[in-house]
């Protein structure tokens, strides 16, 4: 997973690139692989939730999530965690530039 967070004015712009096949049930049947996709993405900054998503199998492969939030400064860490259907999670923290 790649995380980029950049301060612009008083807004922090964040890009998250998750590495995940994100296979929906129908797609899995066709490709003969098990369906598994990212079900939730949560980003926190200074112990506050700044982004929260519940997803489905219709989010693209290696999905890109973009969002913005206010109320943090340079050097603060944005911590992103995704969870998939099988319960696997990945977390990455990145300082705001």
């Amino acid at each position: 997973m790649k995380v980029k967070a950049k301060l612009k004015g008083d807004v922090i712009k964040v890009k998250v690139l998750a590495k995940h096949a994100n296979v929906g049930p129908e797609e899995g049947e066709k490709k003969k692989v098990e369906a598994n996709f990212i079900t939730s993405v949560v980003a926190k900054c200074n112990d506050k939730v700044v982004y929260e998503l519940s997803g489905s199998g219709f989010i693209s492969k290696n999905p890109l999530f973009k969002f913005q939030f206010k109320g943090a400064k340079k050097g603060d860490k944005v911590e992103v965690t995704w969870t998939d259907l099988k319960g696997k999670t990945e977390t990455k923290a990145k300082a705001i530039k």
Partner: protein
């Protein structure tokens, strides 16, 4: 501070913390919305029978998407204090794509890449703090379908 008061405080704090930190998982809370095949049913499963007004929300997506496997979609809105944002489409076997829980003072400007099997319509719905629903519908033409189709 007496003991009873102290314990009461502890309980209140314990009750507050998970609400502030934990994610609202719509997959466990609203399981029906992810199974709904039609857009109307999916919207009903998450928001009930509330009236939807087409206003105050914008979607940015390519008019003609060459690759249906990764269509960049942006949902924007200036509604203050909104609670949730949901994205649906009518091209895939099921309608719901994603639901965002808007944090306090959150900015609604969400970018996401989605899959669409064929040409269809995108619908984004924003729920404001009083439970009013605002939406935007945008048609997207898909030349090569994603989602294994």
């Amino acid at each position: 501070m007496n003991r009873r008061k102290f314990l009461g405080l502890g309980l209140a704090a314990a009750a507050l913390v998970p609400a502030a930190l934990n994610a609202t998982d719509f997959r466990t809370e609203k399981p029906d919305m992810w199974k709904a095949e039609k857009m109307e049913d999916a919207i009903k499963a998450i928001y009930g029978d509330a009236k939807v007004t087409e206003d105050k929300v914008s979607i940015k997506a390519p008019k003609l998407a060459e690759n249906g496997g990764a269509i960049p979609v942006f949902v924007k809105s200036d509604i203050e204090g909104a609670k949730t944002v949901a994205l649906f489409q009518d091209a895939n076997p099921r309608s719901a794509v994603a639901v965002w829980t808007v944090p306090e003072n959150g900015i609604i400007d969400y970018g996401i890449k989605i899959k669409m099997r064929k040409t269809g319509k995108l619908t984004a719905i924003v729920e404001d703090k009083d439970g009013n629903l605002f939406s935007k519908v945008l048609p997207v033409e898909v030349s090569i379908g994603g989602c294994g189709g």
